[in-house]
Assembly symmetry: C2
Homo-oligomer: 308 residues x 2
């Protein structure tokens, strides 16, 4: 079975960019045509989320290698939302050829032992119940909690991205704590554990199936982690709405233009609410706004990556 | 609205014990009558999980104050599993009077900002889409990630239990790291943050709506954390199958018998597979095995709590 990370590397090369489109639906931000008559209960809202996200996928699939549904927004609609999530993942993974997409489900799951195994069975691989290619995972429970995920990645051609340095203002509360008798911080200690697992699962592209979440909002730490984690592919949140720019994330990529995917959610999927797209396209042409915002982000990242 | 933590304290006093029954269904361990003819697809297994967990709830509701469904096992069955989970939570929260139960959903969720808010909206409070009373939460993202949960607890009469010291062998990889320029470890630093939030949300029972997960398998740290976190209610996993005994968890309780609920999952729900219950009751009387195992655990905990 082709390894997840080699499929990812190939798609980044084929599409010529490392953009990840985050699918974070919020009812109030949807185009009005999708809200109308649907504000009655979770079933209607879930139907709107599914229709909206599938339409986004149809727009971006020729352009980018990865989409990242945010599980929380679907969970917030109860079981109806979860059914919508499954449909969205399935729609994305049904794309083939020049439209092929990988799906990273953003669920930040983890637990111990057989419970972690249940999460791995739930989400990892296209034959799993949810059918995602990769899952975001929280590290607080330690290295043994990552083992069932690593085993499922190997068995199912899937990947995980472990939180290392998150993009939020309070991310440093624990992550930036200096650890005694090591030269660094907690996030560096987590990075060491993740890099060891990445190295042991590396494929032809030289990166491993065990990746890391490293936020765009702390560019110095991003550059430092790129050096410290040569086998670890980065999922980089925080570009756009959260304030990270192309120059901030450039250090996440290697000279081949590999090694990272940079996520943007609101900046792309709700482009119709935001200038210059609001004026250029308006709500009625919201898919064109999504396409233009995606193309602008691709261009922005390329301008900061002269080697790629 | 009555605070979550005061409802919990009252139920622990009324039922006379701090036992939490973990609902961790695994298809292969279910009574054979529930497996038969149902091994075809997620829908059938999900129906078996719902029937099994509801039957467990019917047995334990007069005996214990809390049940804790483990989300991972339901998620492993895809959307069908999530519908079953919603039904199980609803069945538990429908109990009233002497059978009243609180539901802690074990999902170990968290994310940043508005995404954490989506998780809080999804799960916290009986009027939320999933209708749980409390949720387990991971701390790696920092104190600001707890804020949306704390706000939802306050608004909806709900609670959270933040992972502090987990029960697994590798839990110490990061949690036990000594932090420079503080007198202690990472888990102690997390404990300080949680205790501050517990103190600021404390109710009549003197504990707060923001609780902590502290494993039974490290009894010295459990006793130390009890001292360090006087306003924090503990959810204690690791009793029974994982090796923790009544003496190990006694330190989690105060002199009133409050301050903790001790979880047992497999030891109770699959008692029919295990001696002495297997011989005494057998599969055909599996509910009697569940009742006996629950009563034995209540007795075991009481024997170690002379003050309660």
């Amino acid at each position: 079975m082709l390894k997840f990370i080699d499929r990812l590397a190939k798609l980044v090369q084929t599409k010529g960019n490392g953009v990840c489109v985050g699918l974070d639906p919020r009812f109030e931000s949807l185009p009005k045509e999708m809200q109308t008559g649907r504000d009655h209960g979770h079933g209607q809202r879930a139907a709107a989320y599914a229709e909206f996200c599938k339409a986004i996928i149809d727009v971006v699939c020729p352009l980018v290698p990865v989409v990242k549904p945010q599980s929380a927004f679907f969970e917030a609609l109860g079981p109806d939302g979860m059914s919508a999530l499954a449909g969205v993942i399935s729609h994305a993974t049904s794309k083939t050829g020049a439209e092929e997409l990988l799906v990273i489900l953003d669920g930040k799951r983890n637990d111990i032992g057989s419970t972690a195994q249940a999460y791995a069975e739930a989400y990892l691989g296209r034959n799993s119940p949810w059918g995602a290619d990769a899952l975001t995972v929280s590290p607080y429970l330690g290295d043994d909690s990552l083992e069932p995920f690593a085993a499922a990645c190997d068995a199912n051609g899937a990947g995980i991205f472990v939180l290392v340095k998150t993009s939020n203002p309070g991310g440093g509360d624990f992550q930036d704590q200096l650890i005694q008798q090591s030269a660094g911080t907690l996030y560096q200690r987590v990075a060491d554990v993740v890099e060891a697992r990445a190295k042991s699962t590396s494929g032809e592209c030289e990166y491993g199936d065990i990746g890391a979440v490293v936020g765009a909002t702390y560019p110095e730490q991003l550059a430092e982690l790129r050096q410290a984690m040569p086998h670890t592919w980065f999922l980089v949140p925080g570009y756009g709405a959260q304030g990270g720019g192309a120059a901030d994330v450039a250090a996440a990529f290697d000279k081949r233009g590999l090694g990272a995917v940079v996520n943007s959610s609101r900046g792309i999927i709700f482009a119709h609410n935001k200038e210059p797209y609001k004026t250029s396209y308006g709500e009625s042409r919201w898919q064109d706004a999504v396409r233009a915002a995606t193309e602008d982000m691709i261009r922005d990242l390329r301008s900061a990556l002269p080697h790629a």
